[in-house]
């Protein structure tokens, strides 16, 4: 058992001068050990090249960047005139009281609906991210309304093949065990694959 004063010195709670020589020696030995372990390995230039290659492969195109810009939260300042505001409120009230039929999402011929279903009992949140949204977490949420541990989301996506992963509780990236098809992500793990059929065959 180490003398608690040694721990206090190493935690910066006590000056080393408060220790007798034999305990100051223990501090010095541990600090020397830490310094030895703290020698950084030589920088690995290949690692930067490897990461940048993976990132460039996933870099969003101009259309997606515009969509990201449009969907990103931005702060705005509103100034309003009360007279016009009352008029706007009246219009909104009319729309709310006499709603049009809800037609649901309108799909283009080259789009389809991807159904994501996953079982994560006890999870606080489940998102899906993939090649369709440049792997951004926090955009597409799955829901478990009946709290049975089965999370679902239906997403309109361009027809074709998409890579994806689930993100559990905002940080744990998990491949879909039910995907059936997978592709290596280049870093020793696998992304799930989904094929979205177009609305119009």
């Amino acid at each position: 058992m180490m003398d608690p004063r040694v721990q206090q010195v190493l935690d910066g709670e006590l000056p080393v001068t408060a220790l007798p020589p034999e305990l100051a020696d223990e501090v010095a030995r541990l600090e020397g050990a830490a310094a030895l372990l703290a020698v950084a390995p030589a920088a690995d230039a290949r690692l930067e090249a490897r990461v940048m290659a993976a990132i460039r492969r996933r870099a969003p195109g101009p259309v997606l960047r515009v969509l990201q810009w449009l969907s990103a939260p931005r702060s705005v300042t509103l100034r309003f005139r009360p007279v016009w505001s009352l008029a706007v409120v009246a219009v909104f009230a009319a729309v709310a009281l006499f709603p049009a039929d809800e037609p649901g999402p309108v799909l283009a011929a080259d789009e389809g609906v991807a159904q994501f279903v996953a079982r994560f009992p006890g999870a606080r949140s489940v998102d899906v991210a993939g090649s369709f949204n440049d792997w951004r977490a926090g955009e597409v949420h799955l829901r478990d309304d009946d709290h049975d541990g089965v999370w679902r989301a239906a997403v309109v996506l361009p027809a074709g093949e998409h890579e994806y992963m689930f993100i559990v509780d905002g940080e744990r990236w998990v491949a879909d065990p039910l995907a059936g098809r997978y592709v290596a992500d280049g870093f020793g793990r696998e992304n799930s694959l989904i094929f979205v059929r177009p609305l119009a065959p």
Binding site: M2, A38, A40, P41, A72, R136, A137, G138, G170
Partner: protein
Amino acid sequence: MTEHGGPSDAEVVARVLGGDVEAFGIIIRRYEPGLSRFAARMLGDRDAAADAVAEGLVRAYRHLAGCREPERLRTWLYRIVANRCKSHLARRSLADVALDDAPPIADGADTEARYERTEQLALLEGALARLPDEKREAFVLKHVEGLSYEEMSAVTGERIPTLKMRVHRAREALLAALKERV
């Protein structure tokens, strides 16, 4: 300008999120050495550490919009890489490969004059490898990476008293190993 002599982390993050993919290279060059050292001490293997850091950096890029405090980017990156290390350790435990079987991670070419130092480093790495993962992580973050207990709490999600206890136990184990050698 910052202590790095370049744009602040928040400025770099804003550039990357604005579409300047190449600016992510600044983040890599700024933090890769520390992250690689941390991963190497956690995993005891340079190749596995490189994998963990590369995976972590790609994930950091993917999640960059979710980094709520870009000025604390360093802590955020350590958290991601720490999680990657845990995944590697979990997989390794399945493969039943002992950490202390790994050769010492020396800081460059060993010469005769460095023999003693390399031997002591091997002793320390062996002692570090025999620690439970959470104690090794706490010690490395505190004493190798120089994080405060508050930063360590942000990295690991653990409470500060828990982290202090882990660091204390790790120190005791390392000191015992050093004393055994004499």
